[in-house]
Symmetry: C2
Subunit: 427 residues, 2 copies
Amino acid sequence: MEQYQSLSKEQLLGLCEDLKAQYEGYKAQNLKLDMSRGKPSPEQLDLTMGMLDILHKGSGMVSGGVDTRNYGMMDGLPEAKKIFADILEVEPGMIIIGGTSSLNMMYDTVVRALLLGVYGGKEPWIRQGKLKFLCPVPGYDRHFAITEQLGIEMVGIPMDENGPDMDLVEQYVNSDPSVKGIWCVPKYSNPGGIVYSDAVVRRFAALRPAADDFRIFWDNAYVVHDLYPERAPKLYNIFEACKEYGSEDMVFEFCSTSKVSFSGGGICAMAASERNIELIKKQMSVQVICFDKVNQLQHVRFFKDKDGVLQHMKRHAAVIRPKFELVLGTLREELGGLGIASWTDPAGGYFISVDTLPGCAKRTVQLCKEAGVVLTGAGAAFPYGKDPQDQNIRLAPTYPELRELEVAARLFTLCLKLAAAERLLAD
Amino acid sequence: MEQYQSLSKEQLLGLCEDLKAQYEGYKAQNLKLDMSRGKPSPEQLDLTMGMLDILHKGSGMVSGGVDTRNYGMMDGLPEAKKIFADILEVEPGMIIIGGTSSLNMMYDTVVRALLLGVYGGKEPWIRQGKLKFLCPVPGYDRHFAITEQLGIEMVGIPMDENGPDMDLVEQYVNSDPSVKGIWCVPKYSNPGGIVYSDAVVRRFAALRPAADDFRIFWDNAYVVHDLYPERAPKLYNIFEACKEYGSEDMVFEFCSTSKVSFSGGGICAMAASERNIELIKKQMSVQVICFDKVNQLQHVRFFKDKDGVLQHMKRHAAVIRPKFELVLGTLREELGGLGIASWTDPAGGYFISVDTLPGCAKRTVQLCKEAGVVLTGAGAAFPYGKDPQDQNIRLAPTYPELRELEVAARLFTLCLKLAAAERLLAD
């Protein structure tokens, strides 16, 4: 098929009519599908059911010298720290284990910086007037919601296939002391699926922030979430990079088992320099006595070590790889060569990011919704929910069954085509 | 034995020598005992081991229409809400279930009020200059640590056997708009073991705060923690009392299963008016996607309902009642009639509160420590750790075994006597 842009008005009108007829056919099916959030499917969650057999009435509950059932050990079981440390390639002393949600840990980390300050800072962020965070875009809507709620101004930073525009990042961070942080998903970025290049990671480590209390929020959510584990790209270890520049205190790294074990019952962790960890533990000791150590124990005994986690993730990959391939195949088949969309082909993570013609994202999402397929709201991947070009849409293919996904993906391409044809007619 | 105050200097000197000789005998035993924190004993934790058999590989994991293993249902499983609602005698719609720590939930609630504001308030607390919390004393050190860390000035409020001095509470709350909150442990107060009287609860409900964003932090930590369940005192339901005054929005109530199931793996809850809950849920949705629903499910299926919890608490009572009775018996036997100490005789909770002669608490705790028995630091039950009279000591009898407890209690009374004799000699 020809590129839409080369069609005459008459051809576009005919195309629209044809697409609308197809669209009505979908509407008549009364679909109710959801591709809005990066949720594991029941089949993936089933992979972890064995963890529920790990602890039982007769289990020994002592770990690292403490009774996991009782209070104490705020920063987590040594064995749990070891697994996360191995995964993140840091020392166990650089790890704090939290509750079920790494988002919660990130939120709390921003709140602590606001109210109490960070290591090396002269005073809490909140006493310093206007505050800014850099937000590589498209990015994770829940990151942006945190900074928005807490009154921190967000500055969008464009991304390319290597990561954020580091010229711009350096310009802001190294000159503006009101820039206190940057949100990063460095491996399989949400939603772009980009793995930051070694050069980008090194440039992060080499930052010379104007603020003495600037922090990189390195949300390594997809650290072990490779779709093709045998040929997975390797993210350069930022703490390793920082060693060269003595900048280890600049990084807060986060991850969790939300998409490894149970999203509704996993454990999370943060990694930071020992100086950061020491202060954070002191601050945190007022907030909480301990997180769920019984759940930590259960995870430790189920996964055993980093290799146990990696083997488990291969089973996840086997479940979700066909889903990604189905959606990508549908996009190619339906949209290839039409000049109205581009999309990412991620090697891991939970999303496919689609760019429509400018001004077509909202309309596409709306059309899908009216036909019963919920997508992430258009603009969600941008600070304040505002996509300046109205062209980015995030697809989350993991949750639906293959059969449903095929329908949803087909409908999505139809809606995108219809929105594009309408837009070209209106221009 | 005579009252210490009626002894001559010579008699006191002889007594001191005798007590010191006994004390050296204890020191020679190289004891290592801990009565510092309100921790359940391993025997109590064993009572909940059956919960670990509740979920297994083949378990149905859907509850309230959602897969507990996946994301979602931020405010908790409906069945978990029902159990907490029944225990707190409120509607399930007034409940939010949290993670393992109610302390964390209280901390977060104060932080939200500071940064985002509460329902009905004009602006976040933090924009309103100086802030104060009332702190009934003796009280819970971890409450005071929160307000201290967050820069909120604490005002001590004396307690009697009916609860806080309500004349003083009314005077502060109803006239000073910088008073934003009060910390309360209304049933079996920590450490005094006091159950607030109906009249006190009603006076709380009848407060007319000068601040439109004042909140009562009603930490009902020991709501089901009766030592004598058959004749347990009943705390008047504050939300019921508030109905009469239309003041339901003024109360944030908290509780947890930390001393019901596992301290290191329980679940917690807060209760508030539906208007409060609606705003809190909106605010919280930025912080967290969901807490551990798998653990909630496990709790729900193990305890089944409020009655299941109450039956379980009878088994706890059977374990810890002898410990309280042992310590109280030792106090009576060793200190009765000496005029150097008074103590509480709680019907529940986790503590016995001892008052020494003024100026003897620190010395008593120090003597115990040097002989190998760790008590809660003297002064811990007061804001900023400062007991103006240096006379309050909190005993936590639940954790040690009976045999150890007997030694620890005996040593404690000895140290207290020695400190008192020294003090009287010095006067």
